[in-house]
């Protein structure tokens, strides 16, 4: 194997080692997760206690308004909350950190296919983060057109004043470039660098999820990149792609084109975020049930089917744009079709648990949490996909509750499960199980209260982006519920600090733990911490699938590593 000699700079800063880059993405994602979370807390304060001064930090943050969040700041907050959570928290955590860390280790590769491109990808992402954060220093503040930034809100003429939207667009283009570099790397790595015997249907489902997410990234990020470049040209040199009506100087463009381009990317994007979680959950349920994943191939094929279908459903975000009813119905049909493959792997998860010997470790609790919150998120999606129901529910808090169940709750629980599970491999130390369980139960109860009741307020008619719900008579009865949602959201936030403390405490205090604490079968557990640059001493050879648990023909242990040649060869004959 290739031996790498690293200086301080090439080891920690401009590292080309996929594990270090994974950790860099991990810290970046964690920082933005708390940043976006803090914005969510402030948003909830305004919705629960409208136009009251924010306690403690309010006077210091907004002295001119007496500590009250004014409407402009509120708009900036929900815009940046969405943008940051989707592109700067979940994407770096799941695809950046775990994609980088897991793919080469789980398929038995020494590194990514293009290590230098991998390094450039992270630093492009870092630059994008600086650009995004710099927009806060603008005189009129950062972007405030919502995370979708539809024109004309994001157009210079008649849109939001200031440069915030322009900087937002530049940051997103840079972020898209980083994502595309990652996609090239991940796909090539999976296609090319699998160890001998690691056939596609022997890969762990986590790798399947990350691989499929990368394919979606490769296909759809270029689409939004082109759209964003057109938007940037509109914002800077005065082209008129998305400018219509009286705002246009001459022959008008069409803002609807941006919505199409945005959602052609935007709908697959939600699958990009959740595919890794589906894969990770499928694997973890198997590990902690000590049972092979039920219907492994069906799960892999069902996830691939979702990937294919996801490109045909973007119109369901645009039912209220005056779309032809026939087209609306077609999009509804295609969207509802997705529930078939989704139900297939969902039932497979239950099948894995069925009569398993379940170990309630922290990663397992979070994985089972994913089953619950993804189930609710998926079921409420059916209402949004149906044209008739959606025309009523469109742009209400019901939609917010729905996509937070799938994206915030499912994806975050999946990320937490992954962090608790792979922490011993990334940092050599196991996170404290007791704090982990408090973190789980605290988050589980509060997250369900918050997002379920958001759907209730939405069903009662509360619009998703209004500044002060108590200004409207028909929403006044909801003010008590809004207040309770805020209180539970604060507790949800507090439990995340427990998680952060657990991470910092474990890294600084705990002892190095054993190589394979969960008795898992996949390849990353065969190497000792710290894993050298180059990973495996010799190329592993793979004989078994990723879920060989509780085989009746092995007596002394209930698992069999993917590269462990069994002594009793009875099964192979």
């Amino acid at each position: 194997m290739k031996i790498h000699k690293d200086s301080f700079w090439s080891k920690h800063i401009f590292s080309e080692d996929h594990k270090t880059i994974g950790k860099q993405f991990f810290w970046l994602g964690l920082f933005f997760l708390f940043f976006g979370g803090a914005l969510a807390m402030l948003l909830r304060w305004q919705l629960g206690y409208p136009e009251q001064p924010v306690p403690i930090i309010g006077k210091w943050m907004w002295p001119d308004d007496g500590g009250i969040i004014n409407p402009d700041i509120f708009n900036q907050m929900f815009t940046m909350h969405g943008t940051i959570m989707i592109f700067w928290a979940i994407t770096p955590l799941l695809i950046g950190a775990f994609g980088n860390f897991l793919i080469p280790l789980q398929i038995g590769a020494p590194d990514m296919a293009f290590p230098k491109l991998n390094m450039i990808s992270f630093w492009t992402m870092f630059l994008a983060s600086l650009v995004l954060l710099s927009s806060y220093m603008l005189p009129l503040g950062t972007a405030s057109g919502g995370w979708t930034s539809y024109p004309p809100l994001s157009s210079p003429a008649g849109g939001i004043p200031g440069l915030g939207q322009t900087i937002w667009t530049i940051a997103l283009i840079l972020m898209g470039a980083a994502t595309m570099m990652g996609a090239i790397n991940y796909i090539t790595t999976v296609v090319r660098l699998r160890a001998p015997g690691m056939f596609y249907f022997k890969m762990p489902l986590s790798v399947w999820g990350l691989f499929l997410a990368s394919i979606l990234n490769a296909v759809f990020v270029p689409v939004i990149a082109a759209g964003l470049v057109m938007l940037l040209l509109d914002q800077t040199i005065g082209t008129e792609f998305f400018i219509a009506g009286r705002l246009a100087s001459g022959d008008p463009g069409d803002p609807l084109l941006f919505q199409h381009v945005f959602w052609i990317f935007g709908h697959p994007e939600v699958y990009i975020l959740i595919l890794p979680v589906w894969g990770i959950t499928s694997d973890l349920l198997s590990v902690f049930s000590r049972k092979p994943a039920y219907g492994y191939k069906v799960t892999a094929i069902a996830m691939s089917t979702v990937v294919a279908l996801s490109s045909l459903v973007w119109g369901h975000h645009m039912y209220t744009t005056g779309m032809s009813p026939l087209l609306g119905k077609s999009f509804m049909f295609l969207t509802l079709l997705i529930s078939i493959p989704s139900s297939m792997f969902f039932l497979n998860w239950l099948g894995t648990l069925w009569r398993g010997s379940i170990h309630f470790d922290t990663p397992m609790l979070f994985s089972m949490g994913v089953i619950w919150v993804f189930g609710l998120g998926g079921l409420t999606g059916l209402y949004n996909a149906t044209v008739t129901a959606d025309i009523y529910l469109h742009d209400t808090m019901f939609v917010v509750g729905h996509f937070h169940y799938t994206l915030a709750a499912s994806v975050m629980f999946g990320s937490f499960a992954a962090i608790y599970f792979w922490f011993p491999k990334m940092f050599g130390r196991a996170l404290d199980p007791f704090i982990g369980k408090v973190h789980f139960w605290g988050s589980f109860i509060t997250i369900n209260y918050v997002f379920f009741n958001m759907m209730v307020t939405g069903y009662a008619g509360q619009h998703r982006r209004i500044y002060n719900p108590t200004e409207y008579d028909f929403l006044k009865p909801l003010s008590g519920l809004n207040e309770w949602i805020t209180i539970f959201a604060f507790f949800l936030g507090i439990f995340q600090f427990l998680f952060l403390l657990n991470i910092l405490w474990t890294i600084s205090r705990s002892k190095i733990c054993e190589k394979n604490p969960w008795k898992a079968t996949t390849l990353e557990w065969t190497v000792n911490y710290p894993i050298p640059h180059g990973n495996f001493d010799e190329v592993p050879i793979i004989y078994y699938g990723p879920h060989e648990y509780s085989r009746p023909d092995i007596k002394d242990k209930d698992w069999l590593g993917q590269n462990e040649l069994m002594e009793v060869k009875k099964w192979q004959m």
Partner: protein, 210 residues
């Protein structure tokens, strides 16, 4: 123990770098697809769109198209020389390919200059096409101007990238790299160049001819 397990690889002997380039080209093709289909969408939604040849100079651009196709041909000849380790011909054909790209860019700059400076003839042509009060065609001249400049300049940037890319290859070849190992690099650069030419056929058809 069976140590001779080999994974089935649908891409056969293609190098990892070539696989990466193909993936990049897929992504680049989708970017062009978005820009081109976005332009067609906007064209369907507006009444104000000149007919083919009313404003854009088709004969001049046809010559440009011819140049790019020829440069693709010289690129193939360069690759062929690299395969037979014929350094002199390799340098010649690479230079001709670069020359083709540079001339293409020069003509494009001339075309842009002609439109931006404008004049009575262009004003008359624009008036006939329905654009009243414009003496020049810029990216601000309605959505037509925006589409024309965005699409062609995005392609022009690709030609520029290709010219720089091939110049680096030519520089390395002149410095005397081992062609055995470098052949793959030349082939990958060639892939990019052919892609840029291929996309131009679509841009030419959609922006100029229809």
């Amino acid at each position: 123990m069976n140590h001779t397990i080999t994974n089935y690889d649908p891409f056969g002997n293609a190098s990892t770098g070539k696989l990466g380039m193909w993936l990049f080209l897929v992504m680049d093709a989708l970017t062009f697809a978005t820009i081109l289909s976005g332009g067609l969408y906007l064209r369907l939604r507006t009444d104000l769109w000149p007919n083919a040849g009313e404003i854009l100079n088709i004969p001049l651009t046809s010559f440009n198209t011819f140049l790019l196709i020829i440069s693709s041909f010289t690129m193939v000849l360069a690759l062929n020389s690299a395969r037979s380790k014929d350094i002199d011909n390799l340098k010649l054909f690479l230079s001709l390919t670069i020359l083709g790209g540079v001339t293409f860019l020069g003509i494009q700059v001339y075309e842009y200059g002609h439109f931006i400076v404008g004049g009575p003839a262009l004003e008359n042509a624009l008036l006939q096409a329905g654009f009243s009060g414009h003496s020049s065609l810029t990216w601000n001249t309605g959505v037509y101007g925006s589409t024309f400049y965005a699409t062609t300049s995005f392609h022009g940037l690709h030609v520029l990238t290709g010219v720089i890319y091939l110049s680096v290859i030519l520089f390395n070849v002149s410095k005397g790299v081992g062609l055995e190992a470098y052949y793959d690099r030349i082939e990958i650069a060639g892939l990019f160049w052919h892609f840029v030419d291929l996309v131009w056929i679509l841009v030419f058809t959609i922006i100029y001819l229809i």
